[in-house]
Amino acid sequence: MNANDELRTKKLLQQSLPPVDRDSEPARDLWPAVLRRLDARTAAPPWFDWALGAGLVAFAAFFPASIPVFLYYL
């Protein structure tokens, strides 16, 4: 590619790509929203699930005879 081709390519690119408008930038910082999205993916289980798990542990602790029966059905 010689200098003439480079100039021609540059001119074609400038014609085909629209000029970047400085006012087109977002009005606010988007990075906190990205961080919130990432945090939402690793959100902790809801309180209802914690309560169910705690209830199961308490049940097994109070009635240990139920553990082999549970294992039989698992």
């Binding site: 289980p45 699930d49 169910l52 798990g53 209830g55 199961l56 049940f59 097994a60 009635f63 005879a65 139920s66 082999p68 029966v69 549970f70 294992l71 039989y72 059905y73 698992l74």
Partner: protein
């Protein structure tokens, strides 16, 4: 990774009960072979080792097939499984002679006594346990294998 989704659903479903199998084997070796406790534990292994893993796999395949129509969450779908497993397991245990029905309760493995008043809480606890296991473990595996 869009091929054989039902095979992947089956594999994700059998994951948890398959992990429990070595625990059963260890208990069997310790209790029956080492301690020589006269409990017919080998008869009790038939249901959890032969039937339960396959049922979990088939249940997950059923969830995959029915989910587009029912929109049922994986946890709720898994919590329904004890409704099928409890009668099947009880029938199997009764036929194999490891469950004896008494006047006030049930005796498992000729040694574990569960009063009738405790059966309903046991069943509710099983529903809760299945809900959590299916929601967090099977659901995670389904996402990893690209079917959820």
């Amino acid at each position: 990774m869009n091929s054989h989704p039902y095979l992947r659903a089956f594999l994700a479903g059998i994951f948890v009960p398959t992990l429990i199998l070595p625990v059963f084997l260890t208990v069997f070796i310790v209790v029956r072979l080492w301690l020589q406790v006269p409990v017919p534990i080998e008869r009790g292994l038939v249901f959890p080792m032969a039937l339960v893993p396959a049922l979990w796999g088939l249940w997950n395949m059923l969830w995959l097939a029915s989910h587009p129509g029912t929109h049922l969450s994986i946890g709720a779908h898994g919590a329904v499984l004890p409704l099928l497993l409890m009668p099947a397991g009880t029938l199997t245990a009764s036929c194999l002679g490891i469950l004896a029905l008494g006047s006030r309760g049930v005796t498992w493995f000729q040694g574990v006594y569960v009063p009738y008043a405790l059966i309903a809480p046991c069943f509710l606890a099983a529903l809760a346990g299945y809900y959590l296991v299916w929601k967090y473990i099977v659901g995670f595996l389904n996402r990893v294998l690209g079917i959820a």
